[in-house]
Subunit: 484 residues, 4 copies
Amino acid sequence: MGARTGQQFLDKLDSMRPHITIDGEVVSENLTEHPAFKNVARTYAQLFDLQHDPKFKDQLTYPSPTSGDPVNVSFLIPRTIEDLERRRAGIKVWAEYSNGFLGRSGDYMNSSLTALASAKKWFEKADPVYGERIEAYYEMARENDLLATHTLIPPQVNRSVSGSEQLGGQLSARIIEERADGVVIHGARMLATVAPIADELLVFPSTVLRGTPEDAPYSYAFAIPNDTPGLRYLCRTSLHNGGSHFDEPLASRFEEMDAVVVFDNVFVPNERIFMLGHPDLCNQFYSETGAAALMTQQVVTRTIAKSEFFLGLATEIAEAIGIDGFLHIQESLAELVVDVEIGRALMRAAEVDAKLNEWGMMQPNWPTLNAARNWYPKIAQRFPQIIRTFCASGLMALPGEADLASDALPDIEMYLQGKSLTGPERVKLFKLAYDASISGFSSRQALYEYYFFGDPVRMAGALVSSYDKTPMQQRIKDFLARED
Amino acid sequence: MGARTGQQFLDKLDSMRPHITIDGEVVSENLTEHPAFKNVARTYAQLFDLQHDPKFKDQLTYPSPTSGDPVNVSFLIPRTIEDLERRRAGIKVWAEYSNGFLGRSGDYMNSSLTALASAKKWFEKADPVYGERIEAYYEMARENDLLATHTLIPPQVNRSVSGSEQLGGQLSARIIEERADGVVIHGARMLATVAPIADELLVFPSTVLRGTPEDAPYSYAFAIPNDTPGLRYLCRTSLHNGGSHFDEPLASRFEEMDAVVVFDNVFVPNERIFMLGHPDLCNQFYSETGAAALMTQQVVTRTIAKSEFFLGLATEIAEAIGIDGFLHIQESLAELVVDVEIGRALMRAAEVDAKLNEWGMMQPNWPTLNAARNWYPKIAQRFPQIIRTFCASGLMALPGEADLASDALPDIEMYLQGKSLTGPERVKLFKLAYDASISGFSSRQALYEYYFFGDPVRMAGALVSSYDKTPMQQRIKDFLARED
Amino acid sequence: MGARTGQQFLDKLDSMRPHITIDGEVVSENLTEHPAFKNVARTYAQLFDLQHDPKFKDQLTYPSPTSGDPVNVSFLIPRTIEDLERRRAGIKVWAEYSNGFLGRSGDYMNSSLTALASAKKWFEKADPVYGERIEAYYEMARENDLLATHTLIPPQVNRSVSGSEQLGGQLSARIIEERADGVVIHGARMLATVAPIADELLVFPSTVLRGTPEDAPYSYAFAIPNDTPGLRYLCRTSLHNGGSHFDEPLASRFEEMDAVVVFDNVFVPNERIFMLGHPDLCNQFYSETGAAALMTQQVVTRTIAKSEFFLGLATEIAEAIGIDGFLHIQESLAELVVDVEIGRALMRAAEVDAKLNEWGMMQPNWPTLNAARNWYPKIAQRFPQIIRTFCASGLMALPGEADLASDALPDIEMYLQGKSLTGPERVKLFKLAYDASISGFSSRQALYEYYFFGDPVRMAGALVSSYDKTPMQQRIKDFLARED
Amino acid sequence: MGARTGQQFLDKLDSMRPHITIDGEVVSENLTEHPAFKNVARTYAQLFDLQHDPKFKDQLTYPSPTSGDPVNVSFLIPRTIEDLERRRAGIKVWAEYSNGFLGRSGDYMNSSLTALASAKKWFEKADPVYGERIEAYYEMARENDLLATHTLIPPQVNRSVSGSEQLGGQLSARIIEERADGVVIHGARMLATVAPIADELLVFPSTVLRGTPEDAPYSYAFAIPNDTPGLRYLCRTSLHNGGSHFDEPLASRFEEMDAVVVFDNVFVPNERIFMLGHPDLCNQFYSETGAAALMTQQVVTRTIAKSEFFLGLATEIAEAIGIDGFLHIQESLAELVVDVEIGRALMRAAEVDAKLNEWGMMQPNWPTLNAARNWYPKIAQRFPQIIRTFCASGLMALPGEADLASDALPDIEMYLQGKSLTGPERVKLFKLAYDASISGFSSRQALYEYYFFGDPVRMAGALVSSYDKTPMQQRIKDFLARED
């Protein structure tokens, strides 16, 4: 089949029977019609359609090496720097279409699968069969253009002990039975974003595993269809409040759902198991295979588009109400410019200094990308703050689409006009500002970026320990020893 | 009549016929039943009822000097430090009941009127009749326990020119006709909070006026009933999304509406006019009368209650999920403790160093309160950030009240329990955290505090220029001249 | 004798024979002449002289209850709030004389001794003799107006283990022999500020002690004369570079030395031992006696004077070069105003809400002061940054006193004048700015404030655990249980 | 001649007769022996010697296109990206040798001259003779390996008016006479760094010039020998306090002097004048020629070396005292890692996306470098703060070289050892930390970086106005217009 159309995506979605609870109701069919999912499903369908749009087709797809069908470029195993650039060019199309507000567009998990498949030999360290399975799964996902969600961290019950120690190990998803044809999983994990509209669920190694018998049940990697029996999703309430594209321009399009994942005696057949046991390998799952690098390439491409969005938005607002001449406004705009340029430079430098990894994949320079993913979560918090500071009370003196169609229109035209915009235009712009800086949608975005790769406080430790500081330390030693 | 009951407040509200546009509809009656207003009206009714609650009555009211009826303590003209403390004790009751989330409870504008009435002689500088009118209005408001909103700033059309210069002066509310029996006002102002449920609208001097003919139409102070002909309010959409107290614990109670105020040839009769012309006096309206000081006493009392709320909430969360032992969590808790103590100390010091002002009112020490109102807007931005950092993905792995009543309950009990809470208890606590740090309600609160007294960048300049720095400068001069 | 004169202080100093190493030399006599100590000794002498200055005498002293001689007011055991205010008034004189740059003026340790003596009964929990000794020592110190330094923390060798565990316990000062007439101490402690010009060294409990045999040798409190045999001080190099009061206005007056303290088999006689063993009591030494509260009253009084100094300095600079009209300059000035007012309010509130403690001492409200000492270390870091930002290149385009007396004078008069100052005046002002924001002296001040009470990261944990958060937590619980 | 040796540099310096006032003395000869200049002169000599060191020769030099002699690579006019990389490789040698602490090594102004000469045609817009002169001057500088200082900003007398308006225009250096053979300059400028040891002084256009008669005297660009009659330098006092390399490891090597520049009727001959009048061209002097880009390439290369130094230093300290396992220490280390990687990425991206400019020079991508120079001044302020936080009291418990040679050695060996270092080693390391975070030298470095390219507040405005924000604005416009 290859790259799907939006309709194909929606049809497949409607044919699935997942177990999804939201607002006290179980939804298992007609997902494309449910008010909490239909809009984001439609947006995702648009992404799929772009693959067939003559304007973007060449950027978004490449010919499958097996079928020859066009498949999404995020499945391309990069062998050269040009391949990496090609991947980025495709990822960028979706990122700019969604202005970076979709955190789980298919190319994210596709990038992970692509790196894992390219590291087939790494899987073979455990067992040759794992290498074959991951490759087969990757090819299946690529040829069918599947949308995967994933779930990583243990339930947040008691953070003073490790995930596997909470409540005597009765909480985290774990193997409770090993059978000849597969394993049975029981327990929960957090947090599957975009789960209700996904085709597949990837369940890869989580947190740090010890090589002890107690941790053995947590050493695994597998993938299952989203409507596997026993698999249940428990959703939060939607952040789209039902408003129009005018009133909720972001939430009405980009509200990806988050869900707790419950495994209730879920059977995983052997062909979907990519690793069992081998805690050491599990702990290196993302780093050694190159999956972290390819995923981060996708993420940074997306966050650049988001930073650019905020720079564009802030500039439009500043001009609209005539504040662009103030020094303190310019300082905030300069901050956004710098953020955009830093993001771009980190991406660019990681690409041009990419190197082939052990498995023959051209891997973007990891220390650069690792810095990028430690840097962005913090600066992203500033974006809504800047927008709020620019708009001030304009975010509250804000009627909506229905008001434009009412007798209030003359008042809006008169009193809500901008320096360079009519009243309705300014209201439309400020609705966007509102949805980017005030709405629940906007706050969830800030939270999401902050914790995207994990707790920044913990990530700092990981960055420091993995980073080669010896050349700098040697410089200090040499300087202290200098005799002049 | 004196202090009203909740029912009296609601009855009066239902008898009014204001012109309020929200979501494209004009609402002019049954305001207590409108979904956007009924909940906050009910909460305000509870505040009024507390005046008659045996537990709080003595704190919240004092006997009117004219009628002898109990009236709200925020109307008490303080003559002694004990009076100030009495005022604060009463204000604190409402502040703690609402945990600081109600920015326009009646005591706020009452405090303003109280100071203005006590400064009757200041008004007489312009004309003896103004002194009589402000006093009479104050007494009427006190005896009828009226709820006032107010509106201050010009429309935000083009901030590169002054409010009165925008669009050739055609935007800001201004006097367009002076008649024997009053004046006619036309134009708009921003931003009347709690307008839909108010009895009265106060329209006091705004921004800095020059003594030029061009600025004359903007030199005034008056008050009108909320359903005065020609007065129109244009609301934003509600931040309460219709959820229950469980799901939206703050927004379902404390969502005060904001509205643009449009004066369409509004006639203001003489007895409601407290100042006309006298731009110099207009510019000193808040500072010279002591109104700024009494209003800020109310505000600081309220914001202390809010800081305490966040400290309490953060502590509960930290214990609930077992993160209270981490150093970086303790740093954030310590930050909240320090904020609470600073707020309290500023209030306390302003009281004990209060002095009688020129008009015989015991005025809290202004430099202290002025510092408080420059300090709080910035630190308040940290509160939701801290809550988010504590809760992390717990804010997204968050089912709601309906889910508790569904088949999902066992999963919630198992996988969403806390270290010290059952699943449902933890969900309830995290819903509160969500409404304090993620929801549109929470973001509007942060924005509201940031701009409460005006743009902090501008306020800084005002603080510096009004502050007596000469003793510190003299210390520098003396030190430079020291011969030792 | 009572309050000393400067000359009496200097004479006593010259009669002492401490063992002080600085810049490779051992100094044991003529300390008042040593270039590294003479200036600060002179400044301290001025402080003592102020006790006899008719202008300040009444603030700085009170009649000794035993001798009737005037003694320093920091020895006054406060029994009333007025006593606390009296103490503060006296402390303020020295603080303003030194603009807060002297961290160890006598009133600091005096405050500690005063509280300890007032808590005689607390000492008696261990042994009645300790109560008598601490009282006797306090009285001796008061009547002789002694200047004490103290030393608290273990050597900084390996912070990954506790102080008593470093190098098998061979580093920290500890009891190595218990004799009938006293104990023998061996090991080191950091960091005795102002040690070279002190009369006495106080060695009180440090860090957290466990009730284990291993920690027993570290459970003690004693005081010894500064020239006790076996006691050695190892100084850093001086931060006064030898310049004049013009060129180094702060360092040439206020450079207090810091020293490592080495105990080489130091014998401490029984009468100077205030506690031995009793790790539980040792751990409460500062908190339970009220010593922390009285010391912090002194510190906060001092730091207010310092904040005021920076506000005055920044204002003078801004006016001198005509930058006071810029918005971003005003923001920094406003920040300093707010800091001054917060400091004052915390002090004031702690006083008016003081309460008698268990030992009959009027103790300033501790949670308020505890917040103050957690708040100041961080904001103090901003002061030199603000000064640098104001002065910019003016801190580098900065000739000195010798240049004013040279042929360069006309160039200085012409090209280094300010908007409101002559060239020489501006140079003098900027030399002060330099010494407050660029010099090693200024950086050491910032470091000193940051770590004054210990590592802020650790202090945060202590603040949180000692603070009563239950009322705020109860508010949350009540709110969650509210049915309305 | 080509690239000089250190000795050649020193000999030339000793042959010059500039007019330099420092500490009240005029120094005009034997500059290489003056205590304030000799150490930095020696360090500069080492830089020159590196040009002849077999290890670095090929990186630091290239064959002159005219003489064939090896000349410094900073004179290479880049025509290709490889040329840019070659320039950076050479610049990096000096930057790493000085760990980024030398702000005015020759390659800085060389880079400026190189770009200017390559933009010969730009100069010809004013007059063909200017093109010839700048080229000739560049070649002369290159072949003689001259060290230039420059001076840019007007005296800081009254910042509320423009430089040319201060004191009626009597302060800033200006043309007071135009003669047939040259011009006469009178007035002052700030701030010539490294002036006392420079060969030449470059005086290029400053601030923004208006095309008015009043601004005509300020429209010029020229270069003069450092000992031109009438040229006077007025120095600040040295930040090297005379200590050894052990005690002042940075200041004793890298203390570049700053000086006010006074032009007292200085005659500039025609051949040294590169521009006269043409305020429009003067305003574009750095941007249009590419000089800003090449200078910033040098600066960013230098600041990367400095960031790396601080990362290395912080890591060494953390390991030395066993604090590397603490989470909050790791956060600071991670911050430094991120800073290093961002700096590198900005440099790398600017290079790979370089383009030929109008004059045929391969110019690094300016928006990227412009972001870099707006970003660094702020983050550089954190470096000394981090070092202080790591070292804490260890920066004060710090004896020196003389103490190591004294009887205090055993105490140092015992009590000042580190976890992984002997006492003397730790003292040496901490002396370096001290000179990087506490000393006047370190503070001047922080100030210098902050204001390197001008006031960051003003630079922000320039960045924003020069940056092409239209693509981002278009994205917002498109999104608002999206119909889906």
